[in-house]
Structure formats: structure tokens, C-alpha cells
Amino acid sequence: MTATADSPESAFLAGNNTLKSRLRRAERMRKVWALALIAPMFVFLMVSFVIPIASLLKLSVEDLEVSEALPLTVEAFKAWDGEGFPPPEAMQVFAQELVVAEENKTLGSATRRLNYSLSGFKSMLKKTGRKAEDDLAGVPADQILDAFIAIDKDWGDPAYWRAIKDAVGPLSDFYALWALDRQRDADGDIVMRPSTQSIYVDVLLRTLEISVAVTLICFVLGLPIAYLLATLPTSRSNLLLILVLLPFWTSLLVRTTAWIVLLQNEGLINDTGIWLGLWNEPLELIRNRFGVYVAMVHILLPFMILPIFSVMKGINPWHMRAAESLGAHRWKAFLKVYLPQCLPGIGAGTLLVFILSLGYYITPALVGGPQDQMISFWIVENMSSTLNWGLAAALSMILLLLTLVFFFIYNRFVGFDKLRLG
């Protein structure tokens, strides 16, 4: 059937079309509106969260310092298979480029990077750079290696040449391996780092150990408090709740510093104990694991109590009575009827405390000793003190992965749909 333009049907269809398109336009407007409403949030998240974290994590796999400082050398070394010494022509390119780099002072970060591979490389490269113009420029190919060795005998060791070739990037697992106390040997196999430079696996285990212990202590202390809060009459439970919330609202730094005042050798606890004659020498309460546990548990306890409390608040008290009237012992009723209903709150509480513990930095730094520092401390140390950003990024990556792993384990066994954060 064909319809002419002036038939009633076509008029109807045309009308339908405009209705459709008006509808579509309205839909589109609504979508644009919705997008416009979430745009600020999206932009904020991208700018403040995703982009900085992604660009930091990128540093953990990037290896650009050498290729940026010595691009021609990197190009020339590509032809070399890494056995013995590089071809003399490549050494000449390297020598030429050293002269230029020394002139423009662009060698700085490359020397630092190479020193990570082989200790002593930094001073050797700087010395070579200073003498490059006089001793290396224009030396013929058959004498170039000897000219290098004349400046520093270590150039006679192929390992140093190999280190340059291995550091050309652009991507590398160098820092990721380092963060796990591993490195690649001359054959490219993964081996342990020397024990004087190995610490990060220990730190990782220590971080897990402290987090698990803090979570357990918080659970044991928090459960009865949450139960008390949920079962007391409102007037009294509100007062108790304030006691839980007040420290929760106080700055973390203030609470940590307060613990230093309490726990130190001449602090309140030791002074009182000695004054009362309970002990004669000051007890070691701070700058050790004990101090870390005390302060961290105190700070993280509300994160355990509040989710459990909010779930317990919603449990019908008649369930327990019903169980008891059906013949269950009080404890059995608690374990079989009450506790399972608390699980979403317990899950949320333990997950929160555990994940927050994993990333703890300031509290262990202030009340712990050197043997109590967790992975965040080493991230900061590498970020701001030794300026090894690649390693800091690799450690951050491990921390992030660890958190995600526990996140998914939790999801697998408890499920996020059951999560109640209060």
C-alpha cells in the first residue's frame, strides 16, 4: 500500500513521527540532565582519584630515565646481544652522548636509576661524565674500551655495560620484582636480592599480621560493646554511643599523640604504676608492637562497633525469646539464632577494620619502632626520603592488589549485598 502525502494515514503517521521525535527529544534531554548532574562527581573522581593513582602506578612499570638521558646510546645498544662488551661503535656513541649530557647536566636521574641496578654505578658514571670531553671524545673504536677503563677500572666489567642495556625501558618489571625482594640475574632469571637489601616480603607479612591481629582484637572487644549498645534502653545506650562516637570524631593524629603521652617512659601510665609501687622500672609500652596494637585498636574500634550495632539494632528481640521458649540454652540461642543475623554487620566491621589497617601509616610511625612499620611506611620512605618513586609505586601496587584480593574474597564468601555499613 502506498500513501499519498495528503491522505489521512500519512497525516497520522506524520503526527506520530513528531510525537515519537518529541518523546525521543525529551528522553535525550533527561539523559543529558542526568549526565550533567553526575558530571561534577565524575570529573572530581577522575581528577582527584583515578588520574593521580593511575599515573603513580604507571611509574611502577615505567623505566625511562636512561632512554631519556641517553637516547642515542639506547638506540646503539639495541643491536648488541648483551654478551660480553657492546660493539665499539656503540661505546663511541655512548661517549659522545656523555659529553653532551655532562654539558647540559641531564645525567642526574639516569645515574640514580643505574645505581639501583649496580651499586657504585652513580659515582662511576659521574666521574666518567666529568672526564668524557677530555678523555673519551673522538677516541678511535679500537681504543674506546681502554679509554673507559682508564677512567674507571669497573668499565672492564661487562656487568656495568649490561646494566645500561637492561635499563632502556620503556617498560620493565625491575621495580615490581624489587618490591618482592627479587631481581633478575645476568641470564634474566628471577633470583632473590641480597639479604642486606631484602625487606619487603617481611614487611608485607608483617602488614598482614598486624592487620589480622588488630581486626581480631577489635572484634573481640567490639562485639560485646555493640551488643550492650543494642540491648540497653535508648536513654542509656545513647550515652554509651556518644562515648564510642566522640573518639571517632576526634582527629587521628590527636588520638595517636595522646597515646604517646600515656605510654611513654615518663608517661601517665608508667608514672602512676611506679608511684603506686606496682613496678619499679618504666615498662616498655611504646615504640614496640604493643604500642601499635593499643593505638590502632583504639582508633579502629568504632569501625567495628558501629556496623555491628546497626545490624543488631534491627534484630527482633523476640527471636531470642522464641528460641529459648523452644528449649534452646541461652548460649545456643545466641549462637544459632542471634549471631547469624549479625553476620552482615560483623562482615562489614571486620572488612572495614582489616582494610583500613592494611594502609595504616601515621600511627605505627609514631608509636611503633622500626620493626613495626607497615608497607605504607616504606611507600612514604621511598617516595620522600630515598626518592625511589618507581619502587614506591610498585609497593603501592602491591598494597592495592592486596586490598582488592581481600575485597573479592569477602565478596565471594559473604557477598556485598549483605554488607551493612550502619
Binding site: 642526574g108 645505581n115 651499586s119 659521574k126 642486606t196 617481611d202 611513654q264 615518663e266 622500626p370 630515598t386
Partner: protein, 358 residues
């Protein structure tokens, strides 16, 4: 009034002076901004250099504070938006910045040559302004009798004779040298030389020597923490920067005693950001501040020493005795070798951190 406001007011004052100078307009060359560390240290510089500079060489000096990081210099050099003509930096930072081309090379003819200055305080891009000592100190109330009180570096590690905890700097600096002096009976200079020549061995020996006492060691991070630990009775002895101990005695009435044996002498330096259009004025200021009679003034206001022999000779004996560069305090001392440190600091810090944590 806190020091931020003081600094700002001083800066404002400078601007006002500059804009009202009237008939003889003060040109840019006659004004420099110096970035320093604030607090008592900036105060001593204000009295010794900044105020007199206007009278002596007609230069207006404005003050600012900075955090001492290479990145702060880099941002100004790369953007060309300079805030400071002159920086007061630590030696390591100045060497790192110089290596990256972020500092002007100084005009050594103007300064009278590098030989005028104490060893290790004159570099291509930087020149020493003060010397400070890393020493150890104890509370005079704990060991009241000077005859039986700690006197040598060995005493610092003698946990039988002087039981109690010791505080040391959290970084690797000076502790290895001290341990070598105590463990191997070396002088300060010998310990430094041995450390630099046999680094791996020396490091292993020093940490093995410290190992049995590891649980007796407390670490301080900021300069103020060292006297605080001593005052709180957390430790019986601590290493420290001499000025901090001196200030605790003078300003807080403490009875701390400095043991100069085995001290490390270190410097702060003047430097100029690379490519500064007004670098010449910065150089003029540094030349002025390096004149013996000018440099000697600073020690009246803070217990840090000069960096030239001529300036040291002009300092009154009762002031001089508290300075790291007094000859009595230098009987067993070594001078920090900043270039060697700059080349090795990263791996040593890493090794040290691993030892502390394991």
C-alpha cells in the same frame, strides 16, 4: 606573632621602602629575596646579614621560607618564575640541584677563591654559610659528676658503664662513623676514611657492633626531637645538632652537656637558582655575607660557626667555645664529605633502613 607573619611584614616593609625611595629609585639589582629555614635561624640571619646589608651595601633583603627540596628550585627554573635570588640550602640538596643544572655557578673570583673556605664547604654552585656539628649530649642532671660522666664516643656505646637507652638520627648519617670509632678505636678522620674506602665491610662491622644494643636505640627524626627525648628522660644520651642542644640550655634552662669528641662538622650553603635574571645581585649578597666581619656576626645570635678561618678568628672566645669550629671542639672531628655522601646516600639509606627494620 608567628614567624610567617614576621616574614611577610619584613617583605612588605621591603616593598614599601622600595616604592617610597623617591628621588633615587631603588633598582631591582639592589634588592634580593633570600629563602631560608625560618625560626631562630632566620632571626640570626636577619640580624647578621639582612638588616646590615641595607646600610653597608645599599641592598634591600626580603625574606622567605622554603622546604629545602630540589623540586622547589626546579619549578622556578623551569617556569622562569623566580621567587628567590638566594637560597640557604643543605649541601646535599645543593649538589643534587647543581648536577641537574638548577643552580648558577658562583663567581669564585668575587668570593676570593675556594681555598678561603673550610674543606668541603666550597663547590661550583654553592658556598658554605654556617657550619654545624652533629654531636652527642647527655643530661647533666643524670651524670652530675663530670669525672664519671660520658666523655668519648666509646662511652656513647658503653651500655655497661652507662645503662639506658640512646637516641640516634633515623637516617644513616654519622651513626656508622661513630660506631666505627667505638668498635675499632679509630679517630674520627680514620673512621670516615675507612668507611669511604671499604664501605661494605665498614657498614657490616658497624651494624654488627650495634646489633646487640638494637633494642636500646631510639631514633629521632627532626632536630627538635633529640633534646625532647633527653628532656623527657626517654634516653640517657642522644646525638643531636649542636645548636639544638645549645638552645635547649639557653632558652629552656636545661642542663644538657655536649660531648664534642668524634663530632661531624657539616655546612649550610648559599646558592642561586640557575638562569635568574637578577643573579648578579644574588652574587653580590653572597659576597657580602661571606666577608669575614659579616659572617662572624651570625654566631652572636645562634650557636653555629662560620665557614672561613678569617671569620672564626674574629669571634669572641666566650661565643667561640660553643661553636663546632672552636679548636678545642675539633680535637677529634671529621668534616662531612658531601660529594661522597651525594654519590652513596641512597644505597646506604636503604641498607640502613633494612637493618633497622630487620
Amino acid at each position: 606573632m608567628n614567624r610567617y607573619w614576621k616574614g611577610s611584614l619584613a617583605a612588605l616593609g621591603g616593598v614599601v621602602v622600595a616604592s617610597f625611595a623617591g628621588t633615587a629609585p631603588v633598582s631591582a639589582e639592589d634588592s634580593v629575596t633570600v629563602a631560608s629555614w625560618g625560626g631562630a635561624y632566620s632571626m640570626s640571619q636577619r640580624e647578621a646579614y639582612y638588616k646590615p646589608a641595607l646600610k653597608d651595601i645599599g641592598m634591600t633583603v626580603l625574606e622567605d621560607e622554603w622546604g629545602g627540596a630540589v623540586s622547589e628550585i626546579r619549578v622556578q627554573v623551569e617556569t622562569g618564575d623566580y621567587k628567590w635570588e638566594v637560597l640557604d640550602a643543605d649541601v646535599g640538596t645543593s649538589l643534587a640541584a647543581c648536577d641537574e643544572g638548577l643552580l648558577e655557578e658562583l663567581d669564585w673570583d668575587m668570593l676570593g677563591g675556594k681555598d678561603r673556605f673550610f674543606p668541603g664547604s666550597a663547590f661550583d654552585c654553592a658556598v658554605g654559610t654556617i657550619s654545624y656539628g652533629t654531636i652527642y649530649a647527655y643530661n647533666g642532671d643524670t651524670y652530675p659528676d663530670p669525672a664519671t660522666a660520658p666523655q668519648t664516643v666509646a662511652d656513647f656505646f658503653d651500655f655497661e658503664k652507662f645503662p639506658g637507652k640512646r637516641a640516634i638520627y633515623t637516617g644513616v648519617s654519622h651513626t656508622i662513623e661513630m660506631a666505627l670509632m667505638a668498635a675499632k678505636g679509630m679517630t674520627a678522620v680514620e673512621a670516615q676514611a675507612y668507611y669511604q674506602e671499604n664501605t661494605d665491610e665498614a657498614f657490616a662491622e658497624a651494624t654488627a657492633f650495634l646489633e646487640p644494643h638494637k633494642d636500646q636505640l631510639v631514633y629521632w627524626e627532626t632536630g627538635a626531637m633529640a633534646p625532647q627525648l633527653l628532656a623527657d628522660g626517654e634516653v640517657v644520651m642522644t646525638t643531636a645538632w649542636n645548636g639544638r642542644i645549645y638552645n635547649a640550655n639557653v632558652q629552656e634552662g636545661k642542663n644538657f652537656v655536649i660531648v664534642w669528641d668524634g663530632q661531624k662538622v657539616d655546612y649550610d650553603v648559599w646558592a642561586i637558582p640557575a638562569g635568574h635574571p637578577n643573579a648578579e645581585a644574588g652574587m653580590k649578597f653572597i659576597e657580602y655575607a661571606s666577608r669575614p666581619e659579616v659572617m662572624a656576626r651570625q654566631s652572636q645570635y645562634i650557636a653555629y660557626g662560620p665557614t672561613t678561618e678569617e671569620a672564626a678568628a674574629l669571634i669572641a672566645p666566650d661565643v667561640l667555645k660553643d661553636l663546632p669550629t672552636a679548636s678545642a671542639n675539633l680535637t677529634n672531628a671529621y668534616w662531612a664529605d658531601a660529594e661522597w655522601i651525594a654519590d652513596h646516600i641512597e644505597e646506604l639509606e636503604e641498607r640502613w633502613a633494612v637493618w633497622k627494620a630487620s
